[in-house]
């Protein structure tokens, strides 16, 4: 190979270990600190893909907006961090695990819906319950969609790849579930005469029961701080309104109305939320205990909780009449709301900020 001098021994393979020389066994990404003892596959797929002038970005961002704001700016949230790259998503999702999980959920839903319909289950749903599904589950799907839209917007602004990808998968889950509900209602509608597919949107837009929820969702969609959107979605709205409706109402009530299908469909969102919540708690916890900005961030979270907590509590209270609509009443609104509040308290405690002013002690 060399033009002059002694020829090196020929290597006839391009495989690892075919020759030993400086760096031949350097087979790990070595430019970031793993969270654990060894880097996880998720970390290898994710860390530092979105660069940062504070780390390796030698030439700085090379395009800016007209006002001089660079491609990514720390000013896009009021939260502050000593190190935006410290956060790791608890669910460790990268593309393969994301598709596997989403696809598994889709398979589960298809089985439930296909086999349920084949057994004639929708025809045996209680009549009053069918109207609840059409009006209120139909309205609720728009809330899920709104959170999907808000997080789809928010995933552009984060200051690290880990933050943005966690928000991206959150959006993917929310948008899938909104579609799941839409298609589920359409499909059982093929077996149930007279179910009104337009009723859900009408209730969403006009029914006083849903206006508080719509207001709360629009407040999240309209927030101009991406971390406020992510916080309000997972720390406030999901437990106080979405989980209240999904677990505290649909999943508790359905069986008594002869409906085993809807809880299975809705359960997927509860599983999604556990993961999204775990990611959000981890992120906001790292901000709450930030050695330099912890006080500021905890104050900020209290302010966010105050603003969105008010919308969410108003929304929750306005939903109360729905608990009276099923013929067989097996769950109480007040119990469900108390459980939801306790859930928020537990989440706030894990994150490390004081939520008493927002939802009571």
């Amino acid at each position: 190979m060399s033009a002059t001098g002694e020829q090196a021994p020929a290597v006839h393979s391009g495989a690892a270990g075919a020759a030993q020389f400086a760096g031949w066994d350097s087979r790990k990404f070595n430019y970031f600190e793993p969270k654990g003892r060894k880097a996880s596959h998720y970390e290898d797929m994710t860390v530092d893909v979105q660069p940062d002038p504070k780390r390796y970005l030698l030439q700085d961002w090379i395009i800016s907006f007209a006002d001089g704001t660079p491609t990514y700016s720390e000013s896009w949230t009021k939260a502050k961090s000593s190190d935006w790259h410290r956060f790791r998503a608890v669910d460790q999702e990268w593309e393969r695990t994301h598709y596997q999980r989403q696809s598994t959920i889709v398979g589960m839903l298809n089985n439930v819906v296909e086999n349920g319909r084949r057994s004639g289950a929708p025809k045996r749903f209680d009549r009053a319950w069918i109207k609840v599904l059409a009006d209120h589950l139909g309205a609720f799907k728009h809330a899920e969609f709104g959170l999907g839209v808000a997080t789809m917007q928010a995933q552009r602004y984060g200051y690290s790849q880990m933050i943005n990808n966690a928000i991206l998968t959150n959006s993917s889950y929310k948008l899938r579930f909104a579609q799941d509900l839409t298609l589920y209602l359409s499909e059982i509608g093929l077996d149930i005469e007279g179910i009104d597919q337009a009723a859900g949107k009408q209730h969403w837009l006009e029914d006083p029961i849903w206006q508080g929820t719509r207001h709360a969702v629009e407040a999240i969609m309209g927030a101009d701080d991406y971390l406020e959107q992510y916080f309000a979605t997972n720390v406030i709205f999901e437990p106080l309104v979405a989980e209240l409706f999904r677990s505290g109402f649909i999943m508790q009530m359905a069986a008594a109305q002869n409906d085993f299908m809807t809880p299975a469909v809705v359960s997927s969102a509860e599983g999604d939320f556990e993961r999204n919540l775990a990611n959000a708690v981890e992120l906001f916890h790292t901000l709450a205990i930030d050695e330099k900005y912890g006080d500021h961030n905890r104050g900020l979270m209290q302010a966010w909780a105050g603003r969105h907590g008010k919308f969410a509590l108003d929304a929750a209270h306005q939903l109360q009449p729905i608990w009276s609509q099923p013929r067989v009443k097996v769950a109480q609104f007040n119990d469900a709301l108390e459980a939801a509040k306790n859930r928020v308290r537990a989440i706030a405690s894990e994150i490390g900020f004081d939520v008493r002013a927002a939802i009571g002690g």
Binding site: M1, A3, T4, A8, V11, S13, G14, A15, A18, F21, A22, G23, W24, S26, F29, N30, Y31, D44, M45, V49, P51, R55, L58, Q59, D60, W61, I62, I63, S64, A66, P70, E95, R96, H98, Y99, Q102, V106, E114, F145, V149, M152, Q153, Q155, R156, L168, S172, L175, T182, L183, S186, E187, L190, L205, Q211, H215, E218, A219, G222, A223, Q229
Partner: protein, 556 residues
Amino acid sequence: MPDGLTLNKIIAQKGISIGEAAKRVADLGWTPSYVQEAMTFPTDYKIKKAPRDPMKQVLRSYFPMQEEKDNRVYGALDAALRGDMFRNVQPRWVEWMKLFLAIIPFPEISAARSMAMVARLAPGEELRTGFAMQMVDEFRHSTIQMNLKKWYMENYIDPAGFDITEAAFGRCYATTIGRQFAEGFVTGDAITSANVYLTVVAETAFTNTLFVAMPSEAARNGDYALPTVFLSVQSDESRHIGNGHSLLMSLINDPDNHLLLERDLRYAFWQNHAIVDAAIGTFIEYGTTDRDKKKESYAELWHRWIYEDYYRTYMLPLEKYGIKIHHDDVSAAWDRIVKKNYVHATAQFFSVGWPVNFWRIEAQTEKDFEWFEHKYPGWYAEYGDYWKWYKKLSVPGETNILFNTETGYVYPHRCWSCMVPALIREDFCYDEVDGKIYTYCSEVCRWTHKVAFAAEYEGRPTPAMGRFSGRREWETCYDGWDLADAIKDLGFVRPDGETLVPQPHLIFDDSKMWKLEHVRGHTLGSPLIHFRSLSPEGREQAAAEYRKGFKINPCP
């Protein structure tokens, strides 16, 4: 079993049609009335018409489809290892993947971010699912490419360069060119960046050379992994092309948008050409060991994918809407590839700069010379001696080619717009923008910086348009540095603290590998800082001299 009876027929039940499903899903959106939506990334375009969804796919069919694609990809990677792919892979090829795969995951994920921008701007919700799928697709592409890179690192003979990949991405002069691509997708006017630059031009035109032509060359070099991953990636692109075209169609009927569309198509086409053809042209032509004269050259591939497929069947039909298409730019790009040696000059530049790379480049050989002369008549007279010099100077102890004055090579100016150096010397130009002098590779790149990326375009205010920023000339960062210190600062040194990551050969033997001591004693300089320091007359004289080009001296 009766004839014609299948399991599908037994279990089939009535469902809703795809069209009906897409319609109902699109009806999930509403116009907020309590609180206005969050700050939208700005645009100077007017979008009055809601874009249509050409694909009509819903997420519950999307996720299993993607999982199935993934299963094939990961199964193939396993099979490649079991088949001992790396025993037969060509290191010349894999080395270039250190550069390519350092660059590409960030543009991919930037495309995911850009979906936030177009989804917020596009009226209606019909295309929301399309944008959402593209967002998740791009997440797929970014992380599947990181996975491929890790896989090469774990299994290829020389992992150095893969192991520092994202740090190298932030620091290398060549990866900055790729960052111009990625930041261009998400910064500035949202339609300019996320629709025209990304989907209408990059994805519709240039992914064909990136993700179709390049994998073919990989396979010719014993690399079956890259085609497996990238053809799977490319299978998502038709959805993105559909998204881009649909949004374009919702803009194009408003004559108020035509001036901006003409500007953006011109900027986007030229810059995609300048960036993609420089990089991918080099990988395909210079990273291969396959010199079959029957295979297409990059120029021939470009003619097929860009000229015939994109220009004739996508760009030209836009004229019927009243959009001015710059045919002259397409011809000029073609001429740069076939007459002005754009790809060859880029490969030459990459190899001259080998000490500050993070991958190996070996010399081209007689077998290569013959192929190049066959495909590009006149190549040998222009580049034969250069590659002989390169081989001669690849031995530690020689003065490295970047600083060896015997060769006759003149280090180029860098283009402030596309970031590729001004390699076609006769096209070099410079101009003053906001009181500072900048250098460019071509007239269209000068126009891009001075005219297109400005607050006003042909008398029309364009407050949303982006600006070029940062330390765009890489050489500025190391002006006055000793080469060895710069390499250390870049982090392009192997774990022994002495041996360079880059090497000008493929010899996997410590005794033949370059170390810091071999490159110390040479001072890097910034051509731009020097050029700006000249008087106006001096600059004119220097530019005239530069445009004359250089002649490589005969290699003894």
